[in-house]
């Protein structure tokens, strides 16, 4: 009974996580179509490996890790790990906000897209997804010191790209 109850609620928890998984995947892939493909693969994988999820672990971290691994596998099979997508695509869905806000979103997102991959991952997990350092390091499979130095460099680069405008909004 318990296993069935747990797995049932995990399905719905994953549904709740989907928007964040897509967002993280977009930051990884810099392409919304790839992002949805990767999330789909990751969700399918996660569901076949539910027994590997420790219920005391955070489901979001676990899923982020699976998304990331799915993307790494995808790149390997495509053999184009370093292919850079146009940042413009990342800003495709900005809704009906005012021009100023839209410009702000686009500039932050395109600055993010220009970060080296390791920094982008760190910034994406900590600043965008709000994971604690320890969780983010776990997702990326690196020591916490590596995570903080990537994060610091990513932040520095973003700050340089973005300047200080918009800071007071």
């Amino acid at each position: 009974m318990n296993t069935s109850e747990t797995s049932q609620s995990i399905h719905e928890q994953i549904v709740t996580l989907l928007p964040r998984l897509r967002r993280f995947a977009r930051n990884l892939t810099r392409n919304p179509h790839d992002a949805d493909d990767v999330v789909q693969i990751a969700v399918e994988r996660a569901l076949t490996r539910l027994d590997q999820w420790r219920s005391d672990a955070r489901l979001d971290s676990w899923m982020f890790k699976i998304v990331r691994n799915a993307w790494i596998d995808e790149l390997r099979s495509r053999g184009r790990r370093d292919k850079v997508f146009l940042a413009a695509e990342a800003g495709e869905n900005v809704g009906t906000d005012s021009m100023a806000r839209e410009t702000e979103l686009l500039s932050v997102q395109s600055a993010m897209a220009r970060l080296p991959e390791d920094q982008r991952e760190a910034v994406s997990l900590v600043l965008v997804e709000g994971l604690p350092y320890r969780e983010a390091a776990e997702v990326l499979d690196v020591p916490i010191g590596t995570l903080t130095s990537r994060l610091a460099r990513g932040r520095e680069a973003l700050q340089a790209l973005l300047g200080t405008e918009g800071e007071d909004t």
């Binding site: 399905h11 989907l18 569901l47 979103l105 600043l127 709000g130 973005l162």
Partner: protein, 257 residues
């Protein structure tokens, strides 16, 4: 005092322990430059968060929702099915009002309607009680939605257009309630509160019983279809009167989320 940028960043991210936090705070008081650097870290964090917050309100593609929900039905738990069924039936009879309820127009075969057109949902003179949402889910509206949110089975008036039957907590954590609509066609169904919406999971046309003098009792005689869908979803026992009231008070929000 010199403090590395990584420490200031960790401070801005709330990652330092109490001692390190105190050290940074005293340095900030002494040196406005340090305070400024911390402020810059915080501002950047806010800015990045804000730039990505819009994405969360985007609709998720149906294919992803399907993927996430797939295999959820793979292993229906049939243990203690008899007990569960008995408990559901007890709850249904508790919800039964004292007098015969609605008229059934003849005997109608039970039918699960999945892809039926919206025409079915036109109900009396009022607005359709069930609509298909943009995401494809059937969602309770108007009077039906209100009854699902507010009406208690134990206290409902038998003249209400909507009769609530059994309420329970589903394995997903959501609360679900069975309902029956009055009228010439009187479908009954099962709806679960998902987010802000009561999503109709099952809708059936209950059979009338021969020799029932054209009347049927609300809440009783759940059809096989309804019982099956309740059994597929219920976690534990149906809510009793107090449980129903408590759940309503919380707005049918899951307790542990």
């Amino acid at each position: 005092m010199t403090i590395s940028d990584e420490i200031l960043m960790a401070y801005a991210d709330g990652e330092l322990d109490a001692a390190a936090r105190a050290a940074v705070e005293s340095a900030m008081r002494e040196d406005p430059q340090i305070e400024k650097r911390v402020a810059a870290h915080r501002a950047l964090r806010r800015r990045v968060q804000a730039a990505y917050s819009v994405e969360l309100s985007e609709g998720v593609p149906e294919s992803l929702l399907r993927a996430a929900r797939a295999a959820g039905t793979q292993q229906a738990n049939v243990v203690e099915l008899q007990d569960a069924r008995a408990a559901i039936e007890r709850a249904a009879s508790r919800a039964r009002p004292p007098r015969p309820q609605w008229r059934i127009a003849g005997t109608i075969a039970a039918s699960l309607i999945a892809g039926v057109g919206l025409g079915f949902f036109i109900w009396g003179q009022t607005k359709a009680p069930i609509m298909r949402s943009a995401g494809g889910a059937l969602v309770a509206r108007g009077q039906l939605a209100q009854a699902l949110s507010n009406q208690l089975a134990a206290e409902q008036s038998q003249s209400s257009a909507v009769q609530i039957g059994v309420s329970f907590r589903a394995k997903s954590g959501d609360y679900c309630r069975t309902f029956a609509l009055s009228g010439a066609v009187s479908p009954s169904g099962l709806a679960c509160l998902h987010g802000e919406e009561w999503q109709v999971q099952t809708l059936t046309q209950e059979p009338g019983t021969v020799g029932d003098s054209g009347y049927r009792t609300a809440g009783s005689a759940l059809s096989e279809t309804m019982l099956k869908s309740i059994e597929g979803q219920i976690a534990g026992e149906p809510l009793d009167q107090a449980g129903e009231r408590a759940a309503r008070q919380r707005g049918w929000r899951p307790m542990d989320r």
